[in-house]
């Protein structure tokens, strides 16, 4: 979109570009995040994301403690989706150590992860509209629905957001029948809310005018810049780790991967609505087929858990994109020698400048909103 940059009119009035620092304390940046924007009038001609305000070196912390002790820390990465974060770490560790997860645990993992996806996407949409100026209403509707899922998470894991629910080889507590019924209830009622949400938003003229043809991300660039998750799929990249890797028991469920055509903000909004509908499908199947049995592999020790020397990379499709952990274990094997987290929202910011160039400042806010970042994960 670089061609859209308006040239500085020569011979008329002399103008200058100005540098504006948006953030780090700004409601539209979803946390302490800064964008150094170079503006020509109202048009963005340059933009550099600046992060690190929330940096706590999660990786180094993890390298100084046992494998088990870093699970609660992953909750704090993307604090909306602690379940998928837990899963990503557990999956990587299980890959390295060759642990087989019992069937029931796999199903429970799928259930909580898909609920997390719904929770995340509905909130993202709410926040995105907040960025547009749809003050409050959609966000609070989304939060109302989210609360029901969080109630389930609380009765399941003990906490609403910092679930710390998964363990190597399974999950920490079993899902009782009452909880399954509660989950079924949520899943049964959710489509109605989605319909309502769409009625409220999808055809809204203001939304269309503000979102369509804004912040276009071409497909080639999306692949080349390692963009993942709904953002890549909105640009038409047919890549969903649930389909490609078939980790856990995802191979058994029947669902589609929705794809966008244009790759603009509206596509990124709509993709999430569609993904929620697909998640409902998966949830219905998983809740129906949930087998009985152990919920954690009995041979996995909680303490003095060791991994043979070597390295490996495991990844899951988190709601924000590909969340992976690259782990290296050395002779001792009690603690990670190297622990690297590949955060989706950090890498998805790579193309922020490309998407913003040529648009007005007001659009930058909504483009950033459509990337869907959580600073706990960007800065780690």
């Amino acid at each position: 979109m670089i061609q859209q940059i308006s040239p500085i009119p020569t011979g008329m009035i002399e103008t200058q570009t100005i540098e504006v620092s948006i953030g780090p304390q700004h409601p539209s940046t979803h946390g302490v995040f800064r964008m150094d924007a170079v503006l020509d009038g109202e048009t963005v001609v340059g933009l550099k994301p600046v992060m690190g305000y929330l940096h706590r070196n999660h990786e180094q912390l993890a390298e100084r403690m046992t494998w088990l002790a870093s699970i609660p820390y992953t909750d704090r990465l993307d604090y909306f989706n602690s379940m998928t974060n837990n899963w990503a770490l557990c999956l990587s560790v299980e890959k390295l150590a060759g642990i087989k997860v019992p069937e029931r645990a796999e199903y429970i993992r799928v259930i909580v992860s898909e609920l997390t996806r719904i929770l995340n996407h509905s909130c993202v949409i709410g926040f995105m509209l907040q960025d547009l100026g749809a003050w409050g209403t959609p966000l609070l509707y989304a939060f109302r629905e989210r609360e029901k899922i969080l109630d389930l998470f609380e009765s399941l894991s003990g906490a609403r957001m910092m679930c710390n629910y998964m363990r190597f080889g399974g999950v920490r507590v079993d899902m009782t029948d009452a909880m399954v019924a509660q989950a079924k209830d949520i899943v049964a009622k959710f489509p109605r809310f989605l319909d309502e949400f769409e009625q409220l938003l999808s055809n809204n003229e203001v939304l269309l005018a503000r979102c369509q043809k804004v912040g276009i991300l071409p497909k080639e660039l999306a692949i080349n810049a390692s963009i993942s998750g709904p953002m890549a799929r909105a640009s038409g990249v047919d890549y969903d780790i649930r389909k490609v890797d078939k980790y856990g028991v995802y191979g058994r469920f029947d669902f589609r991967v929705p794809l966008g055509e244009v790759g603009d903000v509206y596509d990124r909004y709509y993709i999430r609505v569609l993904e929620m509908r697909e998640s409902i499908k998966i949830l219905n199947q998983a809740l129906r087929d949930l087998p009985a049995g152990a919920f954690v592999a009995p041979e996995v020790k909680l303490r003095n858990f060791k991994i043979p020397p070597g390295d490996g990379y495991g990844r899951v499709e988190a709601p924000k994109g590909e969340l992976g952990f690259y782990l290296v274990s050395d002779e001792g094997g009690k603690m990670p020698y190297r622990y690297h987290c590949r955060p989706p929202s950090f890498i998805n910011l790579t193309t922020l400048e490309d998407m913003c160039l040529g648009h007005k400042v007001a659009d930058v806010v909504i483009i950033l909103g459509s990337v869907d970042i959580v600073l706990g994960e960007v800065d780690r």
Binding site: Y141, L156, G158, V173, E196, L200, N203, L302, N304
Partner: protein
């Protein structure tokens, strides 16, 4: 799309519907989702967790925690601080003197609860912990942390019931073991002594091993040490496994090579008593083989902090399968130092 602005009208209709809907379904809380917080608290699910507390049975003195420090080592942000209680002579008392949790650091992860082998620490669900001070007020000390088992049963009925049942079963098993063991060892003499009287006060009876007893020189040496140490076997009625062996002609004596790691010999290991001090324990094993010496250097709590029980850890070190000598948490530096010393003495380090 129809006319311009249709989408806007549709949206308005949705908001209107929701607005009106707020006033219905009050009973089911389907629509009305606000709690008037300080007056009206939302019910907490059983699994809900806030900060850990220590459980005691009956009186606060009877706390379950044995100060094994497993939770202290495993706690991810290292917010637990434990000092083991000792009497004037420095004997460990198997309970904490200081047990602090810094709740400004605790991240409510429940890992301490999961790793505790004694069901001593549990998650509370009291979340109203605001204080006026930033530092000292936010550290919970032992008296604040101790809560009764009844309280635990109240906040987490299912979980607590399961724990109670488990503890009861364990206690029964222990009681059974305690009575059946000596009986099996000395069937002829039912009046076997209590499993672990204080050897320090017991008179060390002198028992000589008959010349014709079927022992090798090494076994003989070990037995001599075992007996002269004045353990269970020589106190009270003076019945020892050896004496039984003599009379019955069998050899149920726990010989060092033949002993399976986890099974205690008939009379128990005299030094396997956390009430003894390190020097007393070492006295008991003066002539014993390395594995027993190593075992006597442990804290004798069988807390599994090292991943074994005290016997197993000693055997693993002696066999060379475990090289880390610092795994005994309740024994602290004292044990680690002693282990190193013993290994050096034995020429294995």
């Amino acid at each position: 799309m129809g006319f311009l602005g249709k989408g806007l009208f549709q949206g308005m209709a949705v908001t209107a519907r929701n607005f009106v809907g707020t006033y219905f379904d009050r009973g089911t809380r389907e629509k009305l989702v606000t709690y008037q917080y300080p007056e009206e608290k939302p019910p907490l699910p059983e699994n809900s967790r806030s900060f850990p507390f220590l459980v005691y049975d009956g009186t606060p003195d009877a706390m379950r925690c044995v100060a094994c420090k497993i939770c202290e080592t495993e706690c991810p942000p290292q917010c637990i601080y434990i000092v083991m209680d000792r009497d004037e002579k420095g004997k460990p008392q198997q309970r904490p003197k200081v047990f602090d949790i810094d709740i400004s650091v605790c991240m409510q992860c429940q890992i301490c609860v999961e790793v505790c082998p004694f069901e001593a620490i549990k998650m509370d669900n009291d979340y109203e912990k605001s204080q006026y001070g930033r530092f000292d007020d936010l550290i919970e000390h032992l008296p604040d942390l101790l809560k009764s088992n009844e309280y635990y049963n109240e906040i987490k009925p299912t979980e607590a019931k399961a724990v109670d049942a488990k503890l009861k079963a364990e206690a029964e098993k222990k009681a059974k073991k305690g009575t059946s063991k000596p009986a099996a060892a000395a069937p002829a003499k039912p009046a076997a002594p209590a499993p672990a009287p204080k050897p320090a006060t017991a008179p060390a009876g002198k028992i000589t091993i008959p010349e014709d007893a079927p022992f090798t020189a090494e076994q003989r040496a070990w037995l001599a040490g075992f007996l002269s140490a004045g353990g269970v076997a020589t106190s009270g009625t003076g019945v020892s496994p050896v004496a039984v062996a003599e009379t019955t002609g069998e050899t149920p004596v726990p010989l060092p090579e033949a002993t399976p790691a986890a099974e205690a010999p008939a009379g128990g290991w005299p030094w396997h008593d956390p009430g003894l001090g390190m020097s007393q324990r070492m006295d008991l094993v003066k002539a014993a083989p390395l594995a027993d010496k190593l075992m006597a250097a442990m804290a004798q709590t069988d807390c599994h902090a090292c991943g074994y029980d005290c016997r197993g850890y000693a055997d693993a070190i002696a066999a060379g399968s475990e090289t880390d000598l610092s795994l005994c948490l309740p024994g602290e530096a004292e044990t680690a130092k002693k282990l190193e010393e013993l290994m050096k003495e034995a020429g294995k380090l």
